[in-house]
């Protein structure tokens, strides 16, 4: 089974110049944790997720200091959150995005998701233009379909 058979063709995305507050509102509205970032030429330039927001508002040393338990929120997190409307998506998004193409097999996509810990993979054509997106859910459902397992 090829990815083009299971991918979603309507890709919701944000633009690199969008402000983070708006992008975050969009994530909440869509009830998802991340979105591809696509520029005016339709090319994929990054992925924006809730994790990027967390890593921006928490102190950057938090990952290096081992067990360092905040009993209370430091002043800085609130302040940084309030300033998110001045921050652009392009400043927080992750730029090294793992992608796939339409002709990749289901199993290969599943393997990439497992080994790269990716929740969703943008599907791009040869010119780097986004033609679809495939989520972990789509992959599991495809396997279910293959096993002729009925999902209620």
């Amino acid at each position: 089974m090829k990815i083009k058979e299971i991918m979603k063709k309507e890709v919701v995305s944000v633009k690199p110049e969008d402000n983070v507050m708006d992008a975050l509102r969009f994530l909440f509205k869509m009830r998802i944790s991340g979105l591809p970032v696509i520029n005016a030429q339709g090319k994929l330039v990054g992925v924006f997720t809730e994790k990027d927001v967390l890593s921006h508002i928490l102190p950057s040393y938090i990952e290096k200091v081992g067990r360092f338990i905040y009993e209370d929120n430091p002043k800085s997190t609130k302040k940084k959150f309030m300033e998110l409307d001045k921050v652009k998506v392009s400043q927080l998004m992750r730029r090294d995005v793992i992608t796939t193409n339409e002709d990749t097999g289901l199993c290969e996509v599943a393997r990439i998701m497992l080994t790269q810990k990716a929740r969703r993979l943008p599907v791009v054509d040869k010119s780097g233009k986004v033609v679809g997106i495939v989520a972990r859910e789509d992959v599991v459902k495809a396997y279910a379909k293959e096993a002729e397992w009925k999902i209620d």
Partner: protein, 464 residues
């Protein structure tokens, strides 16, 4: 960016060829020329291609082997596995301490200071930075100090930059205090036969004099900023919210971690006596105690053992050191350092005082630009060659240590601690340090502290 990289890649071979040419002019043979050029390539790589330095080091070693400049056996010997393993052992221990919350506990100690005043704060961060970098390494130490300073400055709404600078300066000064403070400490100890006790007797007191001079200088230098912090502390009515900010970690794990660490320090401090008692070769215990502790830690927390080795040990840096040491050893093996030592002796007219002074100031200026491990690795075989020429080398070892550490304060890229802490400052507060904002205070402190070490090395017969 791409163009700059290409330009640098053209520049590197040119520099190497130029080194080779100069080497030939001063009468070195072909193996000596290769050894010197390959070593210089590593030095230039740390200056121009920080991200490629390990790749360049791999290629360099391969060239040394293929051209028969060094044989396999000696290459392995020069790689100084004992120093690398010592650092691995200490990194595992630091990993345990991090996980046990030791550093969070230290940070809470600063946050909970009673009747905090601005000057008290400056004294405490300076002394704690210095002592912490004496006991663990300077890079680990500065991350935690930077974290504590940022939390406090955030709370009192003052610019953290001066206080971060003060902490970095103290960290670099403190890293001379013991063999544990800086990789160059253990490297010098291992190659010179100096013991932990020697460091405590001869480096630790100088570290204190330098630290106090530096505190005196920064209090004058940053008097306005310190005054502002003092006013804000008064207005905010002490640090009550800060006291509750970070939870003190669970006691049992912290206590066990601390006990292991304290025992390690105790045995390291006593290593020379025990070696004499048990008839062991000098520094055998110094180098194996971290291995015993790390081994014990990995037995105790066996489910975490792999994570300590894989995540807490900075293999990227250690592999670079290993190859660098092998290349520096090759300089001595081929006789390059002997030639250089003779030339230097001629230049200083055989005067030991001129030699000590030039080595101290050269390593201070050198380490303000270069990674101090690279610099010290290059100088060690030269100092060893001075021994063969009949000089008393002990003061030269101290000159290398003090120059290599204090010089790191002169520029903002002088030591890893500077780069790490300024990186945190930029990420957290969006404050980008400019070269000159750092330079004037760094130069003042760097010159004064190197000056103190200089006077001590020249005037006190104790260091001969």
């Amino acid at each position: 960016m791409e163009n700059r990289l290409i330009l640098k890649f053209v520049f590197l071979p040119l520099l190497i060829i130029l080194t080779g040419f100069i080497a030939q002019r001063i009468g070195l043979n072909i193996h000596q020329i290769i050894a010197l050029s390959i070593f210089s390539a590593s030095v230039f790589a740390t200056l121009l291609f920080w991200d490629f330095r390990v790749a360049i080091a791999f290629l360099g070693i391969a060239i040394l082997l293929i051209t028969k400049t060094v044989d396999l056996e000696n290459m392995v010997k020069f790689a100084s596995l004992e120093v690398i393993l010592f650092l691995v052992g200490m990194m595992v221990l630091v990993g345990l301490l991090k996980e046990g919350g030791f550093f969070a506990w230290l940070v809470t100690l600063i946050l909970r200071i009673r009747n905090l005043t601005a000057k008290k704060f400056v004294f405490i961060i300076s002394i704690l930075s210095a002592l912490l970098s004496c006991c663990v390494d300077e890079v680990t130490s500065i991350i935690f100090m930077a974290a504590a300073i940022l939390e406090i400055c955030n709370y009192f709404e003052v610019d953290p930059t001066p206080f971060i600078i003060i902490s970095i300066l103290s960290t670099n000064i403190g890293s001379t205090g013991t063999v544990l403070g800086n990789p160059i400490g253990i490297l010098i100890a291992s190659k010179s036969g100096l013991t932990f006790e020697d460091f405590i007797l001869k480096a630790f007191p100088i570290m204190w004099v330098c630290l106090l001079s530096a505190i005196f200088l920064v209090i004058i230098w940053y008097r306005k900023e310190i005054k502002k912090l003092g006013e804000n502390i008064k207005n905010f009515g002490a640090n009550e919210i800060l006291i509750k900010l970070i939870r003190v970690p669970p006691e049992r794990q912290l206590k066990i971690g601390l006990s292991i660490f304290a025992l390690t320090l105790l045995f390291i401090a006593l290593h020379h006596r025990l070696e004499l008692l048990w008839g062991l070769e000098t520094n055998t215990l110094l180098l194996s105690i971290p291995l015993i502790s790390a081994g014990g830690v990995m037995l105790w927390r066996h489910s975490q053992a792999r994570s300590y080795i894989e995540k807490d040990v900075d293999w990227w840096t250690l592999i670079f050191f290993l190859l660098l040491f092998a290349k520096a050893g090759t300089l001595k093996y081929t006789g390059v350092t002997e030639v250089l030592a003779r030339k230097i002796t001629y230049l200083v007219k055989g005067n030991p005082i001129t030699l000590i002074s030039s080595l101290l100031w050269t390593s201070a200026i050198g380490s303000s630009i270069l990674d101090n491990v690279v610099l010290v690795a290059a100088f060690i075989p030269i100092v060893q060659s001075f021994k063969d020429l009949g000089f008393v080398v002990q003061p030269l070892w101290w000159a290398l240590l003090f120059g290599g550490c204090f010089g790191g304060n002169i520029t903002l890229v002088g030591s890893t601690a500077n780069i790490v802490a300024l990186g945190i400052l930029e990420k957290e507060k969006n404050i980008r340090m400019t070269f000159f904002r750092w330079f004037w205070v760094g130069l003042t402190v760097g010159v004064v502290t190197t000056g103190v070490a200089w006077l001590a090395l020249i005037w006190l017969p104790f260091y001969r």
